[in-house]
Symmetry: C2
Subunit: 154 residues, 2 copies
DNA sequence: GCAGCGATGTTATAACATCGCATATCCGCC
DNA sequence: GGCGGATATGCGATGTTATAACATCGCTGC
């Protein structure tokens, strides 16, 4: 049975609720963008997103999608992978602990990984040099399991 | 006394030697770009680099600098910080172990940090999910010591 | 009504990066 | 010296990613 759809719907409703709690609102545009992000778990580029948007909203323009993305990132609902100019939905409602973003150089897929031990070690390293961790996004280039196996997924 | 200059000169000569070992050649353009990277340890953008280049080489164009940067990155002499579209010289001749790149969101400065413990922990995390580390560049957003102290360096 | 405000529409442009093809330079070989 | 391939550079155009600037809409409170 089709649980993906209802999963996505539930996730959208949770997202809307968490925005409301913070006094922000998940408007129709933002909701559509977030839904598209949910549909492409490996990440999507802003202009591909724009193209998708235009299918239901002919007048969508770059600011339309960038504004929605900025909002979603502010709300912790999405992340940007700078290395690849790729945007992904956050897999963890709203996480306080940083995530590792594993970017596969073969298939360009992104995997979000939470790992408390890593983060502990990370904090220690940074503290030792006087730095303070700022964002929840740590980008790492790492070949994904599929591509390690040689299957070179799309 | 002015040891920066001779340091940079030495570094350039080491770089040239390591290129030669690999059958590559550090040509005049590439050498100039690398020298500019050495002069801006916090990282520099491609088009700022281009502007600098034009002061001594009026006909420099975007491909001029991007080609040189690609070469330097291939040779392990420079790194790209995807998050910021910033390029930095590698602080470690040619390093096999990955580095952490701490990008300060206040001053946009980049610090390259080698930390074996972190890397060990990182390998463990990745192996646990079937990933294999690919590139020597791990990007982390972290406020630098100067900015932690509130000095908001340029 | 009508200010105040957040969101959106719209146009243009800034900023970053690559392509394609011609020319030049180097180097080993005849 | 002359040739041929590989590498490097010049140069114009183009492609890709992101933001600036300004107008407008729709709601809420007064
Ligand atoms: Zn997340
Ligand atoms: Zn992959
Ligand atoms: Zn390095
Ligand atoms: Zn700083």
């Amino acid at each position: 049975m089709n649980s993906d759809l209802s999963d996505a719907t539930q996730a959208l409703e949770r997202a809307a609720a968490s925005c409301r709690e913070r006094g922000a609102s998940l408007t129709a545009i933002r909701r559509e963008v977030l839904a598209l992000l949910y549909r492409t778990p490996k990440g999507i580029k802003a202009y591909d997103l724009l193209e998708q948007m235009r299918q239901t909203r002919g007048n969508a323009s770059p600011p339309t999608v960038y504004r929605a993305l900025d909002f979603l990132i502010e709300q912790g609902l999405a992340h940007k992978i700078g290395r690849m100019n790729l945007f992904v939905a956050c897999r963890h409602g709203a996480h306080s602990s940083p995530s590792l973003f594993l970017v596969c150089p073969k298939c360009n897929g992104v995997t979000e990984l939470e790992d408390p031990d890593m983060v502990t070690s990370l904090y220690a390293s940074l503290a030792a040099t006087g730095h303070r961790l700022d964002s929840p996004e740590v980008e790492i280039s790492a070949v994904c399991p599929q591509c390690v196996a040689g299957r070179e997924a799309a």
